[in-house]
Point group: C2
Chain length 330, copies 2
C-alpha cells in the first residue's frame, strides 16, 4: 500500500482485517509513525507492517495499491519501475483517464515486468482525512469502480482484483475510464462546484447567513473541503466536468425561464418533477443477483446499466452481478 | 392557531407547553381529529383545544397565527375579518412580500378592528410534514424572522410577538419583508433549484446513479421534497429567486471559465477559495449580547448585520441583541 491517507489507510486496515499480509508506505514520516503505532495496537491476526521505502513495501508483493493524490501518481509509478516491481498495480484516484494515460506513458519501463494495471476508485469519502481517520469498515456496501478497457485490460487481472475488493464488502462496478470520469463529474465533481457557488453567493448578505438552515447546510456541506483537494479533483477531470456542469447549467436555465413565466408556480412544478422523481428513486435498490459470463464486454454493459459485481466464481468463468431493481412508477 | 401542519402544529404545541392558552383549527377534519387526540394525551398544563371553525378559534384570542400555505392565506384573512377578529395577526409563511400585500389589500375590511399585522417566518423545516410530526422543541435556537417596516409596523405589536417567540427559545431576526424575501431566495429557494437540477441531470446515466455518494446525497437531499411545495415556495417568491439564481449562475460561469483555463487546477483553487471560507465560517457564532434601544430602524440594522434579538425588556424600551461574532481570518 503506497500512501496511507484516509483511503489508503482504510484499504490497508480492511485488507489486514481480511487476513491479507499488508505492508504500507507513506512519503510523510509522521504518517508512517502513526500507522506503525496503530499496527502495534491491532489484533495480531490483522496487523500490518510499515516500511521506510516504496522498494521495501513492494519487494515481495503480488499487488501494489497506489493511494496517493493524482499529482503524485507518476512519481510512485516511477518508483515501482525502479524497484523492479513485477506484480499487479491498482490505484484509488478519483479520476481514471489521466491515470491510465500515465500508466500508458510508462509501459516502456514497466513492460515485460508488470503483471498489469487495473485502475480503481472506491466511492467512499469522509470530511475527515489522514491515517488517524482510516476505518477498515469504510468500504462496506460502497461502490468501488474497477476499470476495464476492451483490448487493454487483462480480464484475469480485473477478476483477481474483483475477488479482493468484493471480499471487503464493496460493490465492484465495472466501467471504462472514460465512462467513470463522466459519471463522477456529474455526481461528485459538479456537486462540489454547486456547493462552492452557493456558499460564496450567500456570504455576501449577513442576514442570509443567519436565516440559512437545512437546505443551505446540506447544499453547501462539501464546500468546506480544502480548495486544493477539490481543485485537484475537478481540475484533473476538467474535460468531463466542463460538459457535466454545462448540463446542470442548461437545467437551471429551464428554472430561470419558469421563474419568469406568467404562472411561475405551475411552470416550476413541471420543471421540478423529474428531479424529484430521480432523487426519490435514489439510491438504486439492488435487483435479483444474476450469474453472468466473466467477459469484458458483459461486465462493461453491467456497469453501464448501473449494475455491479458482488462475487467472482472460483473458476473465474462467471461473476454474480446485480442490476438496480426497476423503479415503481408510483 | 389557524392551520395545524408541521409548523402550525409545532407552534401550537410550543405555545401550549410554554403555558399559553391555545386554540387550534385546521380546514382538514382528519388533521383536527389527530390534533384533538394528541391534546388529550398532553400533560394537563400543556393542553390545547381544537375548534370546528376559524370563528370559534379566534373568538376570544389576543393573537391569531396563520399557518397555512401561501395560496390559502387570503381566504383565512377574509375569515378573520368575517369573524370580527380584533387582535394581533402573524403568519409563518416562507415569503413575506406577497403576504404583506394580501394584508394591505384587506386593510379596508380589517381596518379599525385589527390590532395589527406582523409577518413572521420560523426557519425550521423538516422532511416530515403534518401534525403528527409537530414538535414543541422545533424552534429551539432556530431563526424566526419577524418583519418590520418603517412607518407601517406598530413597534408595540412587533415587541409583543418578539416576547412570545423568544419565549419559545428562537432567535428573533428583524427584517423588512423585501430583505427577508431576498435572503431566503439565496439560502433556501435557490438550493432547492440546484438540488433538483443536479438530481435530474445525474438521472440520465445509471452508472452515475450507482457511483453517487456523499456529495450527491447531500447536494440533492431537498430535491425529494414534493414539487408542488417547492414550486409554491419558489414561485411565490419569483421576483427575488430569479436574481438570486442569476447570482449563482454568474459564480458558476466563473467555474466554467476556470475549467477551460490552461491550468484548470490553479484556476479552480482560486475560484473555490471564497466559497470554502464562507462555508467554514457558517453558521455564524453569536457575539456578546448587547442592550439596544427598541426602535424600528435599530432593529432592522441589527437584522441586516446578521444579528437577532434574544429578549425584550419588561418596559419594552430596550431589547437584548446579538450580532455574529467576527470571523477569525485564519
Amino acid at each position: 500500500m503506497i500512501g496511507l491517507g484516509l483511503i489508503g489507510g482504510s484499504v490497508l486496515r480492511a485488507l489486514a482485517a481480511a487476513g491479507h499480509r499488508v505492508l504500507g508506505y507513506d512519503a510523510d514520516p509522521a504518517t508512517r509513525a502513526t500507522a506503525r503505532t496503530a499496527a502495534a495496537k491491532a489484533p495480531p491476526a490483522a496487523r500490518w507492517q510499515v516500511t521506510a521505502t516504496v522498494r521495501d513495501a513492494v519487494a515481495r508483493a503480488d499487488l501494489a495499491v497506489v493511494a496517493v493524490p493524482l499529482p503524485a501518481v507518476a512519481g510512485v509509478l516511477d518508483q515501482l519501475a525502479d524497484a523492479g516491481f513485477s506484480g499487479l498495480v491498482t490505484d484509488v484516484t478519483s479520476v481514471k483517464g489521466p491515470v491510465h494515460q500515465l500508466v500508458g506513458q510508462r509501459l516502456h519501463r514497466l513492460h515485460d515486468r508488470l503483471a498489469g494495471f487495473v485502475g480503481g476508485h472506491p466511492m467512499a469519502g469522509r470530511e475527515t482525512s489522514g491515517f488517524a481517520a482510516a476505518d477498515p469498515e469504510l468500504f462496506a456496501d460502497c461502490s468501488w469502480v474497477l476499470c476495464l478497457e476492451p483490448g487493454v485490460t487483462a480480464l484475469s487481472d480485473w477478476l483477481e482484483l474483483a475477488v479482493l475488493v468484493t471480499g471487503l464488502g464493496a460493490r465492484v462496478v465495472p466501467a471504462t475510464p472514460e465512462e467513470h470520469d463522466r459519471a463522477v463529474a456529474a455526481v461528485s465533481h459538479v456537486p462540489h462546484l454547486l456547493a462552492a457557488a452557493l456558499a460564496a453567493t450567500a456570504a455576501t448578505d449577513p442576514l442570509a447567513g443567519t436565516l440559512a438552515a437545512g437546505s443551505f447546510r446540506d447544499g453547501t456541506r462539501v464546500a468546506a473541503t480544502r480548495p486544493e483537494l477539490v481543485a485537484a479533483m475537478c481540475g484533473g477531470n476538467a474535460a468531463a466536468v466542463g460538459p457535466a456542469l454545462d448540463a446542470v447549467l442548461t437545467e437551471l436555465a429551464g428554472a430561470r425561464t419558469a421563474l419568469a413565466a406568467d404562472d411561475p408556480i405551475a411552470a416550476l412544478r413541471t420543471w421540478l418533477t423529474p428531479g424529484c422523481a430521480a432523487r426519490t428513486a435514489w439510491p438504486p435498490a439492488p435487483g435479483k443477483p444474476l450469474e453472468l459470463p466473466a467477459r469484458v464486454e458483459t461486465l462493461i454493459r453491467l456497469g453501464r446499466a448501473g449494475g455491479w459485481v458482488t462475487a467472482v466464481a472460483d473458476d473465474r468463468r462467471t461473476v454474480t452481478g446485480v442490476r438496480p431493481a426497476p423503479v415503481d412508477p408510483d
